[in-house]
Amino acid sequence: MGLRSYIITRILLTIPTLLLLLSMVFLIMRVLPGDPVALHFEKKATPEQMESMRRALGLDTPLWTQYIEYLGGLVDIGYILEHGYPNLGKSMQTFEEVGGQIFSAFPATLELAFYSMIIASVIGILLGVISSKSYNSILDHLIRGVGTVTYAVPIFFLGIVFQLIFGVYLRWLPTGLRINPAVDPPATITGLYTIDSLLQGNLFKFFESLKALLLPSLTLGIILSGIFIRMTRTNMLETLRLDFVTAAKARGLKESTVTYGYALRNAFLPILTMMGLQFAILLGGAILTETTFSWPGLGRYIVDRINFRDYTAIQGAVVVFGLFVTLVSLVVDILYAYLDPRIRL
């Protein structure tokens, strides 16, 4: 099957998944106790007022109508072209476009996720390779120990410890926010501070935002690296026992060539797939990390909004998260196909 058709099928497959997610959340949110309408009145409002507010919020229609309307809004191409983001409805609390809110918050999460992923992969793969190469030795046990422990640490605990060490005592890195408060954030192009500041050739802001990024992404990355270490190690062990590795050794190739060019290169494919799967976990962790580092991202947005019963907001966030995860897994699959000569699409 050709690459294009492959991708297309993959995308088509994601649609029902997303739809399911959406419907589930839609229902869950509607069952939540706490009426968003009531939240608009500091003091008890008259029934008429409640009714008008209910109408304003579009909650006066029956559930299924709301549902259909919501789905309709999602696929409203004209709207997307106009605003640059899909119509996710209006916030139940602030009446703002949820789409706008989410896409203003998303870059922060994306940036965090991206850097943490890099950190996690580097630590995970390097340590994993080393420990697999020195199988069943002290080093191996140490590294595995590290991996296991990191897996068991509550992510926000690690974050707090980092804040304490690097923020409070050493004063090296900021303990929160996306950039040093004394500095105006770079003008928004992509919303990723590091990228924007570079695009504007402002290295100072670039380093400032990098400094702010370091602690959160390190926290998230280290936690995740535990899993990566384990994955890499297992796969490496399996690959290292394959004939072609021994054969390569028998040809007197360099140690590094054998390890990286032969073993890792082949072990990497399954690792890649698992990384894709870990992405959901990473985003979950991002929620806690963002709360710990007052990082204005999608995770904190959700936590904020749940208290307001902001149906539309949470639905929107869920949809975006879902899209993101599926997109990543799609990319991973394509990468896999690309990297493995046996699958020539």
């Binding site: 589930m24 939540l32 422990v149 897996y151 926000f156 605990f157 749940i306 949470i314 879902g322 897994s329």
Partner: protein, 265 residues
């Protein structure tokens, strides 16, 4: 590893169990001592910002974590396993549907769902457990399913079918026993995850009521007093949670290593 893990977990369980007899104070009682008192002979782990005895809270505090994780694991097990067995054995449209739903949940950041659900259900051990369970059912389902699909085709199962054994006989007599090992592994890992997720939920403010001593809550509330140098409020619970999660993880990893012949050299 398994042994070490078991030691840790059982040690903590015992500690929590005998807390009422050994705890020097009522863990919830405020102002048993001065507030935010650093560790001292009289308060070996210091006191909280309300002057509660940290030591007593540590001794008691595990019960919530343990209850939540145990309960959620139980729920996962009772739903995930049978569902996985049945749907994969039956196959066809039902199987497809199940897998689709499960994958939808699986592909999604579990914490978000957990948060939403536990916000819906409100506080309390059971509610926390349920919201966590929902997140981890998929992993059971998937493991069981993949296993069954492979076992189903094995000759002896074919044979059993051949001699006209009832489907449930086959499922529970022939298939289920072979699935158990991998389930055990998932379960232990799930325990660890449940503990951490519970801590996470508490951190976001969806934990149990304040008068119930809980490591997660102390860890969270301790955060605010860290910058005023009250390290003991956050450190001890943090360490305990790590120990508990670590214990389960060790068991899980150890088992999976034992059960994974690929890694036997």
């Amino acid at each position: 590893m398994v042994i070490l893990g078991t030691i840790i977990v059982s040690a903590l369980v015992i500690m929590t169990a005998i807390a009422p007899w050994i705890a020097p104070h009522d863990p919830a009682k405020t102002r048993v001592g001065p507030i935010r008192e650093p560790p001292s002979p009289q308060f070996p782990m210091g006191t909280t910002h309300l002057g509660q005895d940290m030591l007593s809270r540590i001794l008691y505090g595990g019960s919530i974590m343990l209850q939540v994780s145990a309960l959620s694991v139980l729920v996962c097990f009772l739903i995930g396993v049978p569902l996985g067995l049945f749907s994969s054995y039956v196959g066809g449209v039902f199987d497809r549907a199940c897998s689709l739903v499960i994958d939808a949940v699986y592909a999604f950041p579990g914490l978000v769902i957990a948060i939403a659900i536990s916000a819906m259900l409100g506080r309390g051990v059971v509610n926390m457990a349920l919201s966590i369970a929902v997140v981890y059912i998929p992993s059971y389902f998937r493991v069981v399913r993949s296993q069954v699909l492979s076992i189903k085709e094995l000759t002896y199962v074919e044979a059993a079918r051949g001699i006209g054994a009832k489907w449930y006989t086959i499922l529970f007599r022939y298939v289920f026993p072979n699935v158990i090992p991998s389930i055990v592994v998932v379960t232990t890992i799930n325990f660890a995850d449940a503990v951490l997720t519970a801590a996470g939920l508490t951190f976001i403010g969806l934990g149990v009521e304040i008068h119930i001593p809980d490591w997660g809550r102390d860890l969270t509330s301790g955060w605010a007093y860290l910058s005023s140098g009250a390290w003991w409020i956050i450190t001890f619970p943090g360490v305990m949670i790590i120990l508990l999660a670590l214990g389960f993880t060790l068991i899980g990893e150890g088992l999976s290593e034992l059960l994974n012949p690929k890694l036997q050299r």
